[in-house]
Subunit: 124 residues, 2 copies
DNA sequence: TAGAAAATTTAGCCCAAGCTAACTTTTCAG
DNA sequence: CTGAAAAGTTAGCTTGGGCTAAATTTTCTA
């Protein structure tokens, strides 16, 4: 069983990198640092971990891109994130809180629970 | 604003200590280690952190008890835990998965979201 | 009740993820 | 096209939470 078990760090980074690439065409360390509320050296270190894990492609001083594996992980994280946020809002949670809580919750939602959220969403 | 901001570690420990005290009258490091899937020295270290944080009362080589603050924290954690588990089950998630997911999710559920879960539970 | 077994602690290690200070590279404006 | 500003990296430190091995204390049992 190839249970990926990527860290929350990895998930947060690839998710954000995918967003930045979509919005700007590339992901820059300084933007990642700002968005994650972290300092640039921390980003440098973590990006090199993601590179070692085969999730990003990157040359020194250049922008960051996702590998195939990174894109796949990002896609499933973003999907899960959207579902969690939508589900919380369905329950009557305001958007801001839904976003904040989802960031913490999403990493702990199993396939089973995610499916349950989707069912609830379908039932309008 | 006295936002406690206890760590997940602290929450997990006081929650478990409260359970053990309820079940056995006292909480022993070795039981905590087994239940949390951690080795005894880790428990020793973390218990001394909880003591420094004013959450537990404890003498060397003796059982562990909760302070007033610890009891209050444990109570709110246990309540939140029960609500999260019940809510997941209400959605059709099996008990085992609900328990497993709740352990990760509970630490990230805001008051707002918890209230939303409760509302859903009341509506049967 | 003495000695073995079980429980607990101490010492010393590791790793992830954060930081600051200082340095290097890239970018941009004049 | 050059030099200052911005961006990125490196080095080295810190903290939390984990581990093993070894020492110590407590608890049983013969």
């Amino acid at each position: 069983m190839r249970q990926a078990h990527e860290s929350e760090m990895a998930e947060d980074y690839v998710e954000l990198i995918a967003e930045l690439i979509e919005a700007r065409g590339e992901a820059r360390p300084i933007e990642i640092a700002e968005r994650l509320g972290v300092k640039p050296p921390t980003v440098t270190k973590n990006i090199s971990r993601l590179k070692a894990a085969g999730l990003v492609r990157r040359e020194r001083y250049r922008a960051i891109f996702l590998t195939e594996a990174g894109q796949q992980l990002a896609e499933s994280c973003r999907r899960r994130h959207r579902i969690v946020v939508a589900f919380l809002q369905l329950l009557g949670v305001d958007e801001e809180t839904a976003e904040r809580d989802a960031e913490g919750i999403e990493h702990h939602v199993s396939k089973t629970t995610l499916a349950a959220f989707e069912r609830a969403l379908e039932k309008c």
